[in-house]
């Protein structure tokens, strides 16, 4: 799937044509007006009935963001299931699955062993599984899938795999280039494809063994999935799932006109109400936060790296202490969010030591201690330099812009003059080497934590914001090399805070995390969406991870 960010919540420059905000307001105002004029019983169900011929209680129509559509199709090699939107591939089976608490469970796998050096994984699989074309799924197909993806995969990373081998019908062995303890998290999003029916056209005509079959794909519009009648697990309760891809305002129009059963929406729409629908708010690890360059300013290869103000750890701690997350959630997200303390809140590898509350007195004390004395105009100064910071945000992403503005306001309280500036993704990565940028992360794998905090070989600094700590690097390397997944969680936690050092408030704090953004949906009354896993970054396919367990109460 093309890994784009999300309309509304996470639009960035990647959003396609953006109808100007003013026009959206006109539209919304109009919609409000029409809603106000309508009688209570005047729900336009006629439209729904006319448009949707599946009136049985085992079908559902879901609206996703326009960029959730996998342009290159349902081929695991080109990001189906992985990448920007991590989710279960539905059409294909996977070796493992992530449980609601994001620990690892089994799908095709029945058992799994890792060698002491972490270089050899042996997985046994079920022998009662067939592809929807009737052919049996064997270890040979698993090996074929992984070997193929190692060569062709776009966003899902298989560079740590040397070779996959089928030892017999039901046993497959993975030989690794380097130890990779979180391999089961890769397995959880890698759909197994049939060796006999895989080719360039697979993306448009996928054959799998998962809960659903691709019935129809009208590109640019909708995907129709139908339950796999021979599925080896519990039979899906929803027999037919139609997924529409629409922009935010079109999605809202689809709800207003009763054409969708469930549609994504953004916090800006939450003060509206729609007859026959209620708002579903899903907890996420879809976080927003900013980086604080932890080294002094210097020029390197024509780029500016580091920031003299934030290079002082006391300043970074003060900034973190000055942030009132609850207030930010109320101001920016209409209350639909939770405070974020790390890039991986509530994941099995999250260290709760990261939790911190706002303390502006302590922040002022730290700034005083660092030599930043309050000036007459309410801005701190040191050696004639004012305490200034510019917060960057991806232009066009209204939520990140608002978070940047709220952060700037809050920092004013402790005497830091912060301004905000919009930027594009093409330059944002470079600019963030010297200034804080409002980022959004949140993956179902610790690899993200690694890439944010671990140093790179050639620069000795982390990739997205200059920072480095050898001790924490060692914990992370050890965690990846660890043969036992449970044990590796502990090492990931240590990399966050080991009692002495870490990336939390008491540690180096090179990143400050602000909020986890709830994913919001309009849901037609009577539709029960089963228990949702913590959604990762991306307002897309995660919602239908468990669509097979959704139900309608008696009357639709």
């Amino acid at each position: 799937m093309r890994g784009r960010n999300h309309a509304g919540i996470d639009a960035g420059i990647r959003r396609r044509i953006r109808i100007s905000a003013a026009l959206c307001t006109v539209l919304c105002a109009g919609l409000l007006l029409t809603a106000g004029c309508k009688g209570k019983d005047d729900v336009p169900d006629s439209a729904a009935a006319g448009e949707n011929r599946n009136t049985a209680g085992d079908s559902v129509i879901v609206v996703m963001t326009a960029n959730s559509e996998p342009e290159s199709g349902f081929d695991p090699a080109y990001g189906w299931g992985a990448g920007e939107h991590v989710h279960e591939p539905l059409i294909q089976s996977t070796l493992t699955v992530t449980n609601p608490d994001l620990t690892i469970g089994y799908d095709l796998a029945e058992g799994m062993e890792v060698s002491e050096d972490g270089l050899l994984w042996t997985v046994t699989i079920r022998d009662d599984v067939s592809f929807t074309d009737g052919e049996k799924l064997t270890a040979g197909d698993v090996a074929f899938t992984y070997n193929t993806l190692r060569e062709t995969s776009s966003v899902n990373d298989f560079t740590m795999l040397r070779e996959a081998r089928a030892l017999d019908e039901t046993t497959v062995e993975f030989e690794m280039e380097r130890p990779f303890s979180i391999w089961p998290y890769t397995m959880a999003v890698t759909g197994i494809v049939p060796e006999h029916a895989y080719g360039p056209d697979y993306g448009s005509h996928p054959v799998g063994s998962g809960r659903y079959m691709l019935k129809q794909w009208d590109k640019g519009q909708q995907v129709i999935l139908e339950a796999n009648p021979d599925y080896y697990g519990e039979a899906p309760k929803m027999r037919r799932v139609t997924i529409l891809f629409m922009e935010e305002d079109a999605a809202f129009a689809a709800v207003k006109s009763g054409q969708a059963d469930l549609a994504y929406t953004a916090a800006a729409y939450t003060d509206q109400s729609v007859n026959g629908y209620s708002l579903l708010s899903c907890e996420t690890v879809d976080n927003r936060g900013f980086n604080l360059p932890a080294v002094g300013r210097k020029e390197q290869d024509g780029r500016i790296i580091g920031n003299d103000f934030t290079a002082d750890v006391r300043v970074r701690r003060a900034i973190s202490l000055a942030i009132d997350r609850e207030e930010m959630i109320e101001h920016v997200l209409n209350g639909y969010g939770s405070p974020a303390y790390s890039v991986c809140d509530k994941m099995p590898w999250y260290n709760a030591e990261a939790e911190a509350s706002s303390d502006r007195e302590e922040a002022a004390r730290l700034l005083d201690e660092a030599g930043w004395q309050m000036g007459a105009d309410g801005i701190r100064e040191k050696d004639g330099v004012q305490a200034e910071l510019t917060f960057l945000y991806p232009a066009g992403d209204s939520v990140r812009q608002a978070l940047a503005a709220d952060t700037a306001n809050q920092l004013q309280e402790v005497g830091i003059h912060a301004s905000i500036r919009g930027t594009g993704w093409d330059t944002a990565y470079d600019e963030a080497q010297a200034e804080p940028l409002i980022w959004g992360w949140g993956a179902h794998t610790p690899m993200e934590f690694y890439n944010i905090y671990h140093t790179m070989k050639d620069t000795g600094l982390a990739a997205y914001s200059p920072y480095g700590n050898e001790k924490l690097d060692a914990y992370m390397d050890e965690a990846l090399a660890c043969p036992d997944l449970e044990e590796s969680y502990e090492l990931w936690k240590k990399a966050q805070w080991d009692g002495e050092e870490g990336v939390t408030l008491r540690g180096d704090i090179p990143w400050v995390w602000l909020v986890n953004i709830d994913h919001l949906y309009w849901v037609r009354d009577g539709l029960h969406t089963a228990e949702q896993k913590l959604h990762p970054h991306g307002h897309g396919w995660s919602i239908v991870n468990n669509v097979d367990q959704w139900e309608w109460s008696a009357a639709k």
Partner: protein
Amino acid sequence: MGKKAGGYIVKNFIRMLTFLLAVSAASFFLLSLSPIDPLKSNVGQAALGTMSEEQIARLEAYWGVGIPAGKRFLAWLSGVLRGDLGISLLYRQPVLSVIREKAANSVWLMGAAWLFSGVLGVFLGTAAGAKKGKWQDKAITAYCMITAGTPAFWLALLLLLVFAVQFPIFPIGFSVPVGVAVSEVTLSERLSHAFLPALALGLTGVSNIAMHTRSKMIEIMESEYVLYARARGERGWPLILGHGLRNLLLPVITLQFGSISEIFGGSVLVEEVFSYPGLGQAAITAGLGSDVPLLLGITLISAALVFLGNLTADLLYLAVDPRMRRERRKEAERRNTHGGR
């Protein structure tokens, strides 16, 4: 005559080829100047965050990061000369098959809008010109002034709001009904899905045609032959049709075929509003996603379309206006007698 028309077409065909070459070279180099980093704009930040450096390097190779623009252009051009427009980087399918798929949807939409704006434009323009200064003229002119200043996508939003949300007569978007298998989609459903977008495009396209037709009509109505016809007692539509229409057709044909580019441009935005999966949407996706082969493919096809539109207008001139045919013949004869063999 046939031979000469043939020569005319061949000459124009060569002109078109050089034109397309220039268009593709220009757009390619504009694209290569674009600051969009394909990797950073296509692979989201969260996806990049879970990748190893090695994987990032592989993706950069796929997107052609670091290969000089000139080299990439020559590679692309040599493919095109062999009839291969390349593979779309985003869709991972041959560019031609992506375009074919999207164009199949757009053809309905643009064709309907084009006919609608042409027919209605001529009708309104003729009526306004014939009734110059009367209330009909004022009403039509006012309407044209308003729509001329109305962006198609705004009108599209308005139509969507009124006819799909407030009064759900038409679907809110897409080219096919929701949740219905292809085999069950009826023609009338397709038409009802294309109706609002086509209307939005057509309505805004009307004003240009109507206003030009109107001024030409006024000119005709003031001409001596109309005065003469009036003196003989001809009135109303028979007068307009008998003496006005053929003279009107010349500017209308130019405008109508020239408006192909406008319809195409407008459709980009209108398709976006109605989530209509046509060429316009594909162009946006390709542009923002640095899918160079696809964007160039669409550019080539649309440039060719516009060029062919203008060529058709030229050829139709000959059919409509006998004076031009005569001039052409005279010119040819002159050349033959003076130039010799």
